[in-house]
């Protein structure tokens, strides 16, 4: 089933009429509200498609107001098993939609011994970003620096 996500349009005086799409005009999607997507029976995380990342601040301000927040960025798609010559595409966006996280259960890297899933069980406070990288990992989800920040939304 195709996910429906409302694109974000910056609101500006006099431009309101131009920000509604056909579905909004039919009243199926309230203008200015993100379409909620996700599996049935689970919490559906609001999802917003931006035109460019410069809209981020405006969207956060609109959606969260003065609330503090923490962000985590992730690759929408990665490939597992590239060394096998038969890589498997993994849709991390779908994982994020259904779990709220981009760490899938069967990822070799995330589930390597000593990785921070172990911290969840026995938090040590130690950052294992470099030392825990397993050699011969079968994932190409390169450990890019994740953006972690708590900032005011203005």
């Amino acid at each position: 089933m195709r996910e429906r996500v409302m694109p974000y349009r910056k609101k500006s005086p006099g431009a309101a009429k131009n920000t509604t799409n056909a579905k909004e005009k039919r009243g199926k999607i309230p203008a200015g509200k993100p379409v909620r997507v996700g599996a049935k029976g689970k919490k559906k995380i609001p999802e917003i498609a931006l035109t460019n990342w410069k809209q981020f601040a405006d969207v956060i301000r609109r959606e969260l107001g003065e609330r503090e927040f923490i962000v985590r960025n992730f690759d929408l798609v990665v490939f597992d098993g590239i060394e096998t010559g038969n890589p498997v595409e993994v849709d991390l966006l779908a994982v994020a939609r259904s779990t709220g996280n981009d760490r899938r259960k069967n990822a070799t890297m995330w589930n390597a011994e000593g990785f921070d899933h172990d911290h969840d069980r026995v938090p040590s406070g130690k950052n294992l970003m470099k030392s825990s990288m397993p050699s011969g990992s079968t994932s190409v989800a390169v450990r890019t620096k994740r953006t972690v920040a708590t900032i005011r939304s203005q």
Binding site: K54, F56, F69, V71, R72, N73, F74, D75, L76, A149
Partner: protein
Amino acid sequence: MKASDLTKNLTENNGMIVYDPNHLKQAAPNEYWFKTIPLKAALLILRLEV
């Protein structure tokens, strides 16, 4: 930190999950300790239009 700093290296291949900090015990680069399941902690998913 400016909001633009959070997105300056992002491309159309990236997405972003926005969490409620009240649902996390601790957060560090690449490490997140949730008080609850991440699905409850997540407030928004952001990405670029396809």
